[in-house]
C-alpha cells in the first residue's frame, strides 16, 4: 500500500508537467504525420489544374514554402497567444470551423459515454452474478469476442438491422442546419456504434476484477453469514473496483474520441471527428493540428483525473 500511493505534492506537480510534455509530443507527431502524406493544401486548392508557378504562388500565400519546423514553431507560438490560425483551404478561422462542430460531437460523445457506463455496470453485475453461481467458470467470453469486432462492422450491422430491416431510424445522421439539438432518432446509430464495443471492452477488463473480488474468502464468508448482497457489494466490492473502473473509463474516453472520427464519417454526422477526417484528406494542417491537440488534451485530462484517484487495495 505505501508504494502504490505516492505523496500528494510531487504528483500534483508532476502529472500536469507530464501532460504538457505529452501534448507537445502529440502536436509534433501530428504535424510530422501530416507532413509525410503525399501532397499539401496547395495541391488540394489547385486541384491538379494549377501550373508549377501558380502552385508556388499558392504555397507562398499560405506560408507552405517555409521549412516544416518553422511552420510548426510559428503555429505553436500563435496558439500560445490564443490564435489558432486559419484554414489553408478556405481561409475560415480554425476556431469557427471547430467551434461549429464541437456541440455535435459533445452530444454524441456524452451520450455514448453515458450508455457505455450504464452497459459496463450492467455487464459487471452479470459477471458478478455468474461468478457467484458458477465459481469455477472464468466467463467474459462474449465481452471479449465483442471487443474483437471492428467498429466499422458494428456500424454496418447496426445500420442494416435498425435502419434497413426494422426501419426505426434513418441510415444517415444529418444534423439540423443552423445548429439546434439533433433529433434523438439520428443519434441512435452513432451512439450505439460507439458504446457497444467500448462497453464490451470495459466489461472484458472489469468483469474479471468483479469475479475476483467476489471470490475472495471474506466475501464468501460474508455471503455464508447471510450479510445482504447490497451491503457486500457496497462495502467489499465497490472500493476494490473504483480505481480500475475509473482507469478503464478513462481509456474508454480515448476510444470514444478516436471512434467518433470513424462513426461520424460513416453516418454523415457533421461533428469534429468528421471534420478531422475530411481535413486530413485536403491536408489542412492547422485544422488537423488543432483537432489532434484538442482530442489529446481531452484524453490526457481524463487520464490525469483517473490517476489522481488513489488505488485502494483490500488487505
Amino acid at each position: 500500500m505505501p508504494f502504490s500511493v505516492p505523496t500528494g505534492l510531487p504528483r500534483a506537480v508532476l502529472a500536469p508537467l507530464r501532460a504538457a510534455v505529452l501534448l507537445l509530443a502529440v502536436s509534433i507527431a501530428v504535424f510530422a504525420a501530416t507532413e509525410l502524406l503525399p501532397g499539401d493544401a496547395a495541391d488540394a486548392v489547385g486541384a491538379g489544374r494549377a501550373s508549377a508557378a501558380q502552385l508556388a504562388e499558392l504555397r507562398a500565400e499560405r506560408g507552405l514554402d517555409r521549412p516544416g519546423w518553422e511552420r510548426w514553431a510559428g503555429w505553436a507560438w500563435a496558439l500560445l497567444h490564443g490564435d489558432a490560425g486559419r484554414s489553408l483551404l478556405t481561409g475560415r478561422p480554425v476556431l469557427d470551423l471547430v467551434g461549429g462542430r464541437l456541440p455535435a460531437t459533445a452530444v454524441l460523445a456524452a451520450s455514448a459515454f453515458g450508455l457505455t457506463a450504464l452497459l459496463v455496470l450492467l455487464g459487471c453485475a452479470l459477471a458478478g452474478r455468474r461468478a457467484l453461481r458458477r465459481p469455477g467458470d472464468a466467463g467474459g467470453g462474449l465481452a471479449t469476442a465483442l471487443t474483437a469486432v471492428p467498429q466499422v462492422v458494428v456500424a454496418a450491422a447496426l445500420a442494416a438491422l435498425l435502419s434497413g430491416v426494422l426501419g426505426w431510424v434513418p441510415p444517415v445522421s444529418l444534423l439540423p442546419p443552423g445548429g439546434g439539438p439533433p433529433d434523438p432518432s439520428i443519434l441512435l446509430l452513432p451512439v450505439l456504434t460507439l458504446a457497444l464495443p467500448s462497453a464490451a471492452f470495459g466489461v472484458a477488463l472489469l468483469g474479471g476484477v468483479v469475479a475476483d473480488a467476489l471470490r475472495r474468502p471474506y466475501v464468501t464468508d460474508a455471503l455464508i453469514r447471510g450479510v445482504p448482497t447490497g451491503r457486500i457489494l457496497r462495502r467489499h466490492v465497490a472500493p476494490v473496483l473504483a480505481a480500475p473502473a475509473l482507469r478503464v473509463l478513462a481509456v474508454v474516453v480515448g476510444g470514444l474520441t478516436a471512434g467518433s472520427a470513424l462513426v461520424e464519417t460513416v453516418f454523415g454526422y457533421a461533428g469534429a471527428g468528421e471534420l478531422l477526417v475530411s481535413s486530413v484528406a485536403v491536408r489542412d494542417t492547422p485544422v488537423v493540428q488543432f483537432l489532434g491537440l484538442g482530442s489529446a488534451a481531452a484524453v490526457l485530462a481524463v487520464l490525469l483525473l483517473a490517476d489522481l484517484v488513489p488505488v485502494r487495495r483490500t488487505s
Partner: protein, 503 residues
C-alpha cells in the same frame, strides 16, 4: 469538381439496399416552403469565397443563390441576361460594353455599382491559381467602369463568345471585400439567415430585382458521400439530393423521384500523343475502335446516359452533327495494330481511381474490350486523394474526367499548345491559330462551322477515347417541382422550383 468519395459509402449503400423501397418518406407538409437540399461537397472544404475553385457543388449552389452573376446559360446554348441587362461588342470583338440593372442592391443596402462588378472580376482573375484561370481570356486590369451602371470589359483576343465566358461564375461582391472568413453581402435572390458554409440556411431576399422566387428558403447541407445524400432523401431528411450515383437512382423506389439532367459527365480514356505507343495515330485509332461504347454506358452509367463519339463536348452548339458515329470494329483495330508493329500484342497500364462513381468500373471493362484486339491492359486503381495531382494530366494512359464545360473551355484548358493541362499533348500550331480565328467570327453559323472542323480533326487524330456521357442525377421527394434539368451551372438556378403536393 473534385470532391472525394468516402469509403464507408458501402455500409450505407448496404443499409439502403436492405431498406429497399419499403418506407415511403414523409413529405414535408410545412406551411412555409423551405427546400432542404443535400448537395455534394466536402464539409471541410466548404468555403465562403465565391471566387475560388468551386470544387464543392454545395458552395456553387449557395453562391448561385446569394450572389448575382452577369449572365446565365440559356436553353439554346447562348448567354441570357442576369445582373447584366444587355451588352454590345465593338467592331473588333475585344471591347464589350455591359449595362447593369440599376435597381440591384446588396443585402446591406448599398447599390450594386459597376465598381463592384469590376472589383469582383479582377479578384477572380487574380485568383487564377485557384479557379483554373476562369477569366484568363479577359484583361480585367484594362477594363473600365465609365459610369455606375456600365462596365467595359476588354478581351485579350477577339471573342464573339465573351457573354458565354461570363456565365454563372461571375459572382459579384461589394468592392473592397477581402475577408471571406465569413460570408460577405450579396445581391442575389436569397440571403444568409443562419448556419455556416457547410450547413447554410438561406431565406428569400425581398429586395431582389428579379421575379419573386417561389421558395421562402433553402437549406443547403454539404455531404461528401453520394450514398448518404441519396439516403437523406429516401429517409425523408431532405427534399433534394444533388448528384447521386446511378445505382442510387436505380434503387430509389416509388416514394422518390429521379430528376435526370442533360448528360455531360465523361470519363474519357486519355492517351498522350508524345509517348509510346500512343505517338502512332494507328494505335490511337485502334484503341478508339476497340471500345464497345454501349456496353460501357450500360455498365458504368446503368443506362442513364448515351454513347459518345470521341469528342468531349457533343452538347456544344459547335458540335459537328454530320460526323458519323465511330463503331466498334475489332478486325480493323487488329489490322491497325499489326501495321503499327504490334502484331504480337501490346502491353499498357491504364490508371483509374474512385473519385467519381464508376471510373474504376469503366477502366476495368475497357481493359477487357482491349483484350479482344490483342492489347493487354493492366488496370491500376490509384487513391482518389492524390489522383488529380499525381496522375491527371501526367500519366500516359488513364481515366480522365470532364463535367460539362463548353468546347471553347475544353480547348483553352486542354487542347491549345500552351494549355496548362494539355493532357493528350495535342500541340498543333495550325489548330491553335484556326481556333483563335474562329473566336473572332461574329456570325454564329460560320463560327460554329469552323469550331466543328477543328473537332473533326480531333476526332480523327486526338488522344481522347470519349465513349459515353452520363446524366446528372438528382433524387427528390415527390413534392419538389421544377428542378432544373440543364447541364452545368443551370442546375443551381432554383428560381423556378416550388414545393407543392406530392405527385
Amino acid at each position: 469538381m473534385t470532391f472525394k468519395q468516402r469509403r464507408p459509402a458501402l455500409l450505407i449503400a448496404f443499409a439502403v439496399l436492405v431498406a429497399g423501397c419499403s418506407a415511403p418518406p414523409p413529405t414535408s407538409g410545412s406551411t412555409t416552403s423551405t427546400l432542404r437540399y443535400v448537395a455534394a461537397g466536402s464539409p471541410a472544404a466548404a468555403s465562403n469565397d465565391p471566387h475560388g475553385g468551386l470544387a464543392n457543388e454545395s458552395d456553387a449552389l449557395r453562391f448561385s443563390l446569394l450572389y448575382d452573376v452577369l449572365t446565365v446559360p440559356g436553353d439554346d446554348g447562348t448567354a441570357k441576361p442576369r445582373l447584366a441587362a444587355s451588352w454590345e461588342p465593338d467592331r473588333t470583338l475585344t471591347r464589350w460594353t455591359f449595362r447593369l440593372r440599376p435597381e440591384a442592391t446588396f443585402t446591406d443596402g448599398r447599390p450594386v455599382r459597376a465598381a463592384d462588378v469590376l472589383y469582383s472580376l479582377r479578384r477572380i482573375e487574380r485568383k487564377a491559381a485557384e479557379n483554373y484561370g476562369r477569366l484568363a481570356s479577359f484583361d480585367t486590369r484594362a477594363s473600365t467602369a465609365p459610369d455606375d451602371h456600365t462596365v467595359v470589359l476588354v478581351s485579350r483576343m477577339p471573342n464573339a463568345l465573351a457573354p458565354e465566358a461570363l456565365e454563372s461564375v461571375t459572382f459579384v461582391v461589394p468592392e473592397g471585400s477581402e475577408d471571406f472568413g465569413k460570408p460577405v453581402a450579396g445581391s442575389g435572390p436569397y440571403q444568409m439567415a443562419g448556419g455556416d458554409a457547410q450547413t447554410a440556411v438561406l431565406k428569400r431576399n425581398p429586395k431582389w430585382w428579379g421575379s419573386h422566387p417561389s421558395l421562402d428558403g433553402v437549406e443547403i447541407r454539404a455531404v461528401a458521400d453520394p450514398q448518404a445524400r441519396a439516403a437523406a432523401v429516401t429517409s425523408g431528411q431532405a427534399d433534394v439530393a444533388g448528384s447521386v450515383s446511378p445505382a442510387a437512382a436505380k434503387a430509389a423506389g416509388t416514394g422518390v423521384r429521379v430528376v435526370r439532367r442533360t448528360p455531360v459527365t465523361e470519363y474519357p480514356f486519355v492517351m498522350r500523343l508524345d509517348r509510346k505507343p500512343f505517338d502512332d495515330p494507328r494505335v490511337r485509332e485502334a484503341f478508339k475502335l476497340a471500345a464497345d461504347r454501349r456496353a460501357l454506358v450500360d455498365t458504368v452509367f446503368l443506362g442513364y446516359g448515351k454513347v459518345a463519339n470521341d469528342l468531349p463536348t457533343p452538347y456544344d452548339a459547335s458540335y459537328p452533327e454530320d460526323l458519323a458515329q465511330r463503331p466498334r470494329d475489332v478486325a480493323r483495330a487488329k489490322e491497325l495494330l499489326t501495321a503499327a508493329g504490334h502484331a504480337d500484342g501490346l502491353e499498357v497500364t491504364l490508371l483509374t481511381t474512385t473519385s467519381y462513381p464508376g471510373m474504376d468500373a469503366a477502366a476495368t471493362l475497357y481493359a477487357r474490350q482491349l483484350a479482344d484486339v490483342g492489347v493487354t491492359a493492366t488496370v491500376r486503381n490509384e487513391p482518389p486523394d492524390t489522383y488529380f495531382t499525381n496522375v491527371w494530366s501526367k500519366a500516359d494512359f488513364y481515366t480522365g474526367y470532364f463535367g460539362g464545360i463548353p468546347f471553347t473551355d475544353v480547348a483553352r484548358v486542354a487542347l491549345l499548345s500552351k494549355s496548362p493541362t494539355n493532357e493528350t499533348a495535342w500541340k498543333r500550331p495550325a489548330w491553335d491559330k484556326a481556333f483563335t480565328e474562329a473566336l473572332a467570327v461574329r456570325d454564329d453559323a460560320d463560327r460554329n462551322g469552323r469550331l466543328g472542323a477543328l473537332q473533326k480533326e480531333l476526332w480523327k487524330d486526338g488522344g481522347y477515347v470519349v465513349w459515353g456521357l452520363g446524366e446528372g442525377l438528382d433524387l427528390t421527394s415527390p413534392a419538389v417541382h421544377g428542378l432544373p434539368t440543364g447541364p452545368g451551372f443551370q442546375r443551381f438556378l432554383l428560381d423556378g422550383v416550388r414545393l407543392g403536393d406530392a405527385g
